[in-house]
Subunit: 243 residues, 6 copies
């Protein structure tokens, strides 16, 4: 029995709201239950120094949590003067996930910086971030296309992510904080809309798990991400439809 009463293969209620920031070329407020992440995609006409002159673009991501996103207030990273290892790990993951579905050459020399800021956390902030970041990125590319900054849409697929874990001995989908903090194992899956694997990160928190259990987690993830992919597509269709 899960604390939330969900069935093992049940996602939390998912919502993707676009157009939530008047400045950003693309934006999306993603909610996985009580986990809320504000994603903005910003177009920068300069690429990083190491990429200049190669005719290719770049997509990168930054991640942060508001201090009181969490149950106990956490210290502000800007005040501490550095980003934690966890923050850096997550923002590197988001960036890799987005680049894996982007044709960087089709972008030409421009950069998109995606910021994922957690307004409220209840587990799964990195998977919600990736899922919302894709929507913000797609809208930013729409914007660049309309503005003539790019000739073709550089996205080659969609991407979404979900966590799974072993909780009370059973494989469950989309861990919330109550489950996450006492799961025996925790895995994050980043898959494309076409079902291919971009990233798998499975970690035994306490007791090592078996290959069979890893497969159960992946089964759940494939089903969950298929549903997220539908929501992403519907969201983008709605956002692209003139009112």
């Amino acid at each position: 029995m899960r604390p939330s009463g969900r069935s093992p293969d049940q996602l939390r209620s998912v919502s993707l709201e676009t157009g939530v920031n008047k400045h950003a070329e693309g934006s999306c407020l993603v909610k996985f239950g009580d986990t809320h992440v504000l994603c903005t995609a910003s177009i920068d006409t300069r690429v990083p120094p190491w990429l200049r002159g190669q005719g290719k673009g770049w997509v990168t991501a930054e991640y942060g949590m508001l201090p009181r996103a969490t149950g106990q207030r956490t210290d502000r990273e800007a005040a501490k003067g550095k980003q934690s290892g966890r923050t850096q790990e997550i923002q590197r993951l988001i960036g890799r996930s987005l680049r894996a579905i982007t044709d960087l050459t089709a972008m030409g020399e421009m950069q998109v910086k995606v910021d994922c800021d957690v307004l409220q956390a209840d587990g799964g902030t990195r998977t919600a971030s990736i899922t919302g970041a894709y929507v913000a990125l797609a809208l930013a590319f729409d914007h660049a296309l309309k503005a003539g900054q790019i000739k073709t849409h550089p996205l080659t697929d969609s991407v979404a992510a979900i966590s799974c874990g072993l909780y009370n001995g059973a494989a469950v989908l989309d861990l919330d904080y109550a489950e996450d903090s006492s799961a025996q194992a925790d895995a994050n899956f980043v898959l494309t809309g076409s079902g291919k694997v971009i990233e798998v990160q499975g970690t035994a928190e306490d007791v090592p798990f078996t290959r069979a259990e890893l497969n159960q987690l992946l089964d759940l993830a494939e089903a969950g991400i298929a549903r997220l992919t539908v929501v992403q597509a519907e969201t983008l269709t709605a956002a692209r439809t003139p009112a």
Copy 2:
């Protein structure tokens, strides 16, 4: 003529939404037009080291802007490894403003940390922050009172803030970004609900101004803050009324 078409003494539309964070003891999303700030007040049962053992409490504030809160994306302070002088100036101002209406002795040995994070900026982020922070702080003290952490409500008054400036030679209330970036002078006023002065910060951006002009700005601010005080009171009344 103001870019927004407002009259010189007209505030932008103001909204204060409470209960926007499920973890925080008090929270308020404040909107001054397109300037949106998420304020959370977090109770910490420990006071800062230099105050221990004195039987008094403390109220402090931190301020931040999401990278794409602004028209051009600004670098993330956590990534740069330090808070700018501007950020520190603003958070010190918010903290002083809140302490000026708080009876620290009535708090006993506890601390409230108020976080003001700008989700979207269009001028006046520090004044919106103070106005929303007061509401979040009041609700956090309500929470502490119910929980028996304090015996009496420590707030001695309310506090709100507004900016005024000389724009195209005329004194105007509540500058938005378009005005702020080309104003000759800019002043921020922090007043109590009872009309007293907590803080005045007037700055000639370009050409020094006269004492008469300073008085015009203060006249506008007094009227504007009186209206903000009403909205704050209505918001708190609604939040305190059982549904």
Copy 3:
């Protein structure tokens, strides 16, 4: 009764000594009683990157306190690895005050960096800094004029600053440390030699104050700054007179 025995509208003894650093293009050791600040103005032929190619100059300031400038030794900011919020607030104020009386276009592409280092502190270090910084800046422009780096003197007015406060219920001028640490309110005024306002910063330390009280403080400041303006002018005349 003031701790120093001064009347409410009495400045501390003021002294401005020029030529105190053999390297700097302009220098001034300013003393407001026991508050001593060494101000040097350094000409840099390069402007900041964001101003290049615009044909304009820049004036900026940095502020510091020697560790034992204060009654209790304070930790050295260079050793702590960062400047405090207070330091940044003060140096931003000094820079703004100097730029408000400088015709940046008349400077052409050059920069003046003014360093204000407090050798001994007894209250009012920021106002003494501004008052001395003006003298150092004026001398540095004299130097640039003689050296043919600029064609006209870019200063459009003079600038000086003084603090006022409510101490034991009365408005008093030029707070020393004994007064500053127990004043109910504290305001810093930066005015031009011609009596216009560059900056007003009034803060209720404890109890909010009235508009009438703010006006009393401003009355005192106007009179005090008129006297500082005379001392500045006399000092510059003496410094410019060949021995």
Copy 4:
């Protein structure tokens, strides 16, 4: 065909040398071909602050690369003033891997800090680090047991790690730098001696991969880690045998 001429399921030559540091309680110089990592395990009688008084121990790891471990010299992290995101990611992974096979309660209140410093890099530094760190940790626990600091050996299993990847379309084991830098996908596996999964990290560098491919990589890893486990056991047996 692999650049090194190895068959797809062939490890590089593996060597584990113990007793390479006269101060450390446990030490191991691990070589996976031209990748050389010096691992030392240091016993600290104090646990981290957040664990004090709980009667449990802690195992943590730090990772570094000498500047010229790499083909092009990389800047020294100590000189840059911060550890990269990559470094933090790796050292967190090593720590988690070691804790997954350690009975922290059996340790009592003590800490082991394992340092993995790459003397020479040729791909696979994180997997070599984990493989050598286990040996250093085991020897440090031997030392603590002899010294009477612990009553029972806290290791519940062994741990080793290996990378696999898709190179020129084929699944291959133990990527060296030449392969790593042009692989389509790259996965690191951390398994116990008994074959259970501690951590799986699979990343599509360029093109997303299929679930079938992920399974091929895991097959290779299971076989490779089985061989590493034998070498670890032989190394420890030799080290524990009196000369």
Copy 5:
């Protein structure tokens, strides 16, 4: 021929002025020609953590240069966020030099922090700092003795320092900046009043030197420091004589 016209064994004019800071327990403004250093000695009733409970005291030093102490303005270390290697080297040297003539046990558990801040630099700032720091330290111990914080004066000797160098092939005493910047070799000597060696630091800037040359430099230093020792003693006698 020296740029200043001094003979090879001639010191610059030396002045030691005490009582230059109203807060510090001991203070001395030392001038070696145009090199001016403000030295303050601050008593702290706490010793560093690693020395607590051992009944011994500690003497430490910090060194800094005002940005325009030098011919070209140097960036402020507090603004850069770290102290240079040179700064750290010098402040470590000052601290060691002072501790070598202090009976730390006679101090009991207290600490003296000596700050040496260069107001104007013209070569030899470290040697002037040590020479002035001794006077400030001696006066701080006088203060502690009068206040009953210590029972006996903990200084066992005096200490002074001077630089020597090979300039245009000749050994010369007390290098100024013009000499220092083109000397072939440069040596700093820290000797006690009784003529013993506390520290010798000789460096070939360009061409290695001979042992005979090192001896010439030491001859000069012994004579120079004997004279500094007399000035120190006279200064302290005057400072200790009631007016």
Copy 6:
């Protein structure tokens, strides 16, 4: 009697092993007894910004200690976010020592960065570093000569270093940790192969010493460095001989 049983003028066993890093242009693992330092010399085709366009080269050094190089583990400087004053002092010394025997003009515009990383420490890490760094540097220049990057070998002499000290009242050569930690005085000498002085650093740890004692230490150093010079020459001859 020395703890190691060595005679006062006896070096520890010295070994210099070349070719220990497959990437570096020059490398040397130097051992002074149980002190082991890995030295690599890396050629960089760019000189530092302040040297560009002058047709000259630069040699610089960095120094580090692995955390468990020492008897007690020391915190990793990369994790603390800054290099200690001691580290900076040592790496500046190594760089100066190498430049004193290098004809920077003969290098042309290129830079060599020498990294000295202490794998195991037992006293004398800075002198071992200099002695090994010379060998690595010489081999890097050999490499550049063969590659046609330079026309002539820029080394004008060899350099080696050794420590001496007063231990139990007697002058002894090449202090190990047991001696170093209880020596009354400690001196490091950096001499050329031809016997000239590059650097002398003598420090009284506790009791000041006499000029006669300084001379005794220098006598020992001259003899010790003569022997190190022979070992360096033999090592380079062997390394340069085709197998």
